[in-house]
């Protein structure tokens, strides 16, 4: 083609038209460009909402986030006290940290300009460096878009109408697939371990389950808890209440599990995978030290005593456990009903302890069959975990006639294999787990059960799980009911119970509202049995006078120092009789501490 092409020469000149166009650029800083609503700018962290779990630091693939201690922020249960600091020289603003933050406190803002002559200034603490960033949030992650898994894998249980006819175990645990799926949810922050009284190594065994190594999970659990099957079935699970996932998980499951990782059921899965005591011994295979010649006596074969016996036996001590009743387990055997914690579960754990070398003497009550002084003389140390065996009196008229029984006695009889006829109608007084246990057991004997509780349902100290299960099984709960007297029938047995209705009066000082009886609101409920479950206390009559100066009892509890040692240096104590938390895991924790102290005392002599 020839070079002289008019069109080809003139067309480009039309570009001169552009001179009149508005420029693409704007005059900064007089004008600013409106940043998009989703812009990924600099970080902002809400320091009050942040719990210091460290998930952002783990997922950052540039290793840009550190967790550091800040002045003025202290750790507390559910909060590690550390806060993230971002190294802006490494950050690539991918916002993965925002997507996995379990509380939603870390977000990105619309700010993207930061100028400084000092390179160290680029190590930023979001929230501290830019408190005004709160008003400028742009890239956030809601519960829908977040990559944290807030909903628990649902657990299967027996149908309420069927299960009330037998003592078959109600909750059917996780199978392998469900357990692995549930274990995947955990972010391994470890906040739960602080609140567990025994400080079990929770993230470690959950990760072992997630990876498919159930053997390792079992070994990790047995490191400081020899009763995991019981904990896996009936623990009070304080750990789950501070789980990082509950902060937003409660949106999905308010008032119940709140989305926490099912730590308790995963523990149960890990132990149920090994059905016999031989298998447990084979897998856990603990190192049992040579006999060191020292002898230790343990009074009470409840969770505290059994734990102490197990760990002392592993250290090479000659251990004997003296149990007043016929079977080991303490309250977990004689108090917790079999549909929550079956008998073969207890037997399995106790059998394993016998294999390790612990000796048991059943039907031997200290103070009656054997004297405390003898034990003190013959053994190098004593650990007492006798629990609270006596029930409080109801304090109402006719409470000792036939037909009125305490829940502790009632459950003890049923669990020991004896029978007790509760008749057709039963009233249970109290609102704790023991009351619910009494109610559900009576329901299984065909009775029509009513629970009378002074306050409202939300004030009941029992587990929400138990309350709900009881309601499903047909138990009737009458709240704001204060019993006044038991009415005796012609045959000398219980005929009915009278109670007053109460109204909740707000407390002036801001505490819980109190129930105040309404004058003239007496109601009569016809019942055959009244079961009282308003609290328990200890029975220390076995301690002879000569020892009572050293072993001091204050307000119903044995006084111990932080090593679980009483005033008498040879005597240690733990469990319900010592601590205020009243659950089995606390007893296990006390026993573990006592074992360490006994070991220190005896080995350093």
């Amino acid at each position: 083609m020839s070079f002289f092409d008019l069109k080809g020469l003139l067309q480009p000149l039309t570009g001169i038209r552009q001179f009149g166009n508005k420029p693409h650029t704007i005059k900064f800083p007089d004008q600013t460009k409106k940043t998009a609503d989703r812009y990924r700018g600099l970080h902002y962290n809400d320091l009050d909402v942040c719990i210091g779990c460290g998930n952002c630091s783990t997922i950052c693939q540039n290793a840009a986030i550190d967790m550091i201690q800040l002045d003025g922020i202290e750790g507390k249960p559910g909060d590690s006290g550390l806060r993230p600091r971002v190294d802006n020289g490494r950050c690539c603003w991918c916002a993965l940290c925002v997507e996995v933050c379990p509380t939603g406190s870390l977000n990105l803002t619309k700010d993207y300009i930061f100028v400084s002559e000092n390179p160290d200034d680029f190590l930023w603490i979001p929230g501290v460096k830019n408190p005004e960033g709160k008003n400028n949030l742009s890239f956030t992650s809601t519960t829908e878009t977040s990559l944290s898994m807030y909903q628990r894998v649902p657990l299967r249980e027996l149908d309420p109408h069927d299960r009330v006819k037998s003592f078959a175990e109600v909750i059917l645990g996780y199978n392998e697939e469900e357990a692995r799926l549930e274990a995947q949810r955990c972010i391994s922050c470890g906040l739960c371990t602080e609140v567990c009284p025994d400080h079990m190594h929770i993230p470690e065994y959950i990760n072992a389950i997630a990876q498919g190594n159930d053997d390792d999970a079992l070994r990790i659990i047995y490191d400081n808890n020899p009763f995991p099957e019981m904990c896996g079935k009936v623990c009070t699970r304080r750990c789950e209440s501070v789980c990082a996932l509950t902060h937003r998980g409660k949106e999905f499951d308010p008032g119940r599990d709140e989305g926490a990782v099912a730590i308790r059921f995963l523990k149960r899965y890990a132990t149920e995978a090994y059905p016999t005591a031989e298998k447990i011994k084979e897998i856990v295979n603990p190192e049992i030290k040579e006999a060191n010649g020292y002898k230790v006596a343990i009074i009470g074969a409840g969770p505290g005593g059994l734990t102490a016996g197990y760990y002392l036996a592993l250290q090479g001590y000659d251990v004997t456990i003296f149990e007043a009743r016929a079977h080991a387990g303490g309250m977990t055997f004689y108090g917790i009903p079999k549909y929550r914690f079956p008998e073969d579960s207890v037997d399995k754990q106790v059998e394993y302890m016998e294999k390790v070398g612990v000796k048991f003497k059943y039907n031997t009550k200290v103070g009656k069959d054997i004297k405390f002084e003898d034990l003190h003389a013959k053994y190098n140390a004593i650990f007492m975990s006798v629990g609270f065996q006596k029930a409080w009196n109801l304090g109402i008229e006719n409470e000792n006639i036939p037909g009125a029984i305490s829940a502790v006695d009632y459950l003890g009889k049923i669990n020991a294999g004896e029978s007790y006829d509760v008749g057709k109608k039963v009233a249970v007084i109290g609102g704790g787990n023991v009351a619910i246990d009494g109610a559900r057991v009576s329901a299984r004997y065909g009775a029509d059960v009513t629970i009378l509780y002074r306050r409202r349902i939300e004030d009941m100290p029992a587990d929400w799980e138990e309350i709900e299960a009881a309601q499903h099984e047909g138990v009737n709960i009458i709240t704001q009911a204060i019993p006044t007297r038991i009415i005796k029938g012609d045959n000398g047995k219980v005929k009915a119970i009278e109670y007053l209705k109460a109204e909740m009066v707000a407390d002036d000082k801001g505490g819980r509202p109190r129930p105040v009886a309404i004058e003239g609101s007496e109601t009569i409920l016809e019942v055959d049995t009244v079961i009282g479950a308003i609290g328990q206390e200890g029975d220390y009559s076995f301690i002879p006078e000569t020892f009572q100066k050293k072993i001091q009892i204050e307000r119903g509890r044995i006084l111990v120092n932080e090593d679980m040692q009483t005033g008498d240096s040879k005597v240690f104590a733990g469990g319900d009789s010592v601590n205020r938390r009243a659950d089995a895991i606390s007893a296990i924790a006390d026993a573990y501490k006592a074992v360490k102290a006994i070991d220190k005392m005896l080995m350093n002599k």
Binding site: D37, R38, Y39, C92, C94, C186, I187
Partner: protein, 367 residues
């Protein structure tokens, strides 16, 4: 008079080279006798880094494989992981992915305009097109939160849904760009200088093109109709109405025509996608990323990017980390063996011109 053979090093810091690499040419007078390419200025060891990160954490590295057009990398990785695991992407997610890909294609073509015309000495068009490209980047900012590196497509779907008002904004931007394209035509394609420089330069023979490993617009400029979007349709390309342009000739002019036509097709695809997009889910959520495992397996996935086909070969050994991720962009063959074959006999001033038309992008070569 004998002409001495001299060695000339073009690059790595040279406006005529598309990126950071060095083309060493041996010249006699003004004509190139032989050439060889040297890379190594941009090696960031990405493949090794990906092996040390989780399946999800590595998605932040992927977009940095290719600077002008980061999205095909993200998409190919996500598709490979989904293929190994067997994860389904919901419908709306697929449509949004196609939207992102076509927008990325559009902005990359704008950048190409600048390079191609600049290397011929026509600098005005480059300034215009980079300015207009910013409107597409504004759309990306609305949608993904970032202008250049989006980090938006990940295994399972896309990260967020379309924001409110996005559709109108996008359609307005498309209208504006279509008007501007007419202007570009007048400045570049109707310009006799460009036509004279581009025709007959840098010819790739049609019978050897596939064997040499030529892909993308250079292949279509030889008259061979080959595009991953129609050979192995992925996402929703089989539901869209578009043509894949081919022109005969195999020279720079044909390739420029191919690209001009593809821009028009991209705009048309974007309009179709915005009309036809269904409602619904856009993300099939993965479990806790720190504990997400992919079963063992391998997959090889290809996507069509602006320069040609991008291939990801992903191997998993059943753990939380990839075993091996090997990436090959179009530039791997274009910048080495093909260049060695077509440069001899060309003029020095055409070296940069041909390089731009082949679309060599060094970050892709060296990862």
């Amino acid at each position: 008079m004998r002409e001495k053979e001299t060695t000339l090093y073009i690059g790595p810091q040279h406006p005529g080279i598309t990126g950071n690499m060095m083309v060493k040419i041996k010249i006699k007078g003004d004509t190139v006798v032989s050439s060889s390419t040297h890379v190594g200025y941009l090696h960031r060891a990405f493949e090794k880094l990906i092996e040390q990160r989780n399946w999800l954490q590595s998605f932040t590295i992927l977009c940095r494989f290719c600077v002008p057009e980061p999205d095909p990398m993200e998409l190919t990785y996500a598709r490979a992981v989904e293929e190994i695991e067997g994860r389904e992407v919901p419908e709306r997610g697929k449509w949004i992915r196609v939207l992102v890909m076509e927008l990325a294609r559009l902005q990359s073509f704008m950048l190409w305009y600048g390079g191609q015309s600049g290397s011929a000495g026509l600098y005005t068009l480059g300034q215009w097109s980079v300015g207009d490209r910013n409107y597409v980047l504004d759309l990306f900012e609305e949608l993904t939160g970032g202008r250049v590196y989006h980090m938006f497509i990940w295994p399972g779907g896309v990260r967020r849904d379309l924001p409110k008002g996005f559709k109108d904004k996008a359609l307005r931007t498309m209208d504006y760009l279509e008007k501007r394209l007419v202007q570009y035509n007048k400045l570049l394609f109707d310009n006799v200088i460009f036509q004279k420089r581009a025709q007959g330069v840098g010819i790739i023979p049609k019978d050897k093109a596939i064997e040499w490993g030529v892909v993308g617009p250079p292949l279509r400029g030889c008259g061979i109709k080959s595009d991953v979007r129609i050979d192995e349709p992925y996402e929703v390309y089989d539901k869209l109405d578009f043509i894949v342009p081919t022109f005969e000739g195999g020279d720079v002019w044909a390739r420029a025509l191919v690209r001009r036509e593809e821009i028009k097709q991209s705009i048309s695809i974007i309009r179709q996608v915005l009309e036809k997009m269904p409602e619904g889910e856009y993300y099939n959520k993965i479990p806790n990323p720190m504990k997400w495992k992919i079963p063992a397996g391998e997959a090889y996935v290809r996507t069509e990017s602006v320069r040609g086909e991008v291939g990801f070969y992903v191997v998993s050994d059943g753990t939380e980390r990839p075993r091996r991720v090997h990436v090959k962009g179009a530039a791997y063959t274009h910048a080495f063996t093909v260049l060695d074959k077509i440069l001899p006999g060309q003029n020095i001033s055409d070296v940069s011109f041909i390089l731009n038309s082949m679309g060599a992008c060094p970050p892709e070569i060296e990862r």
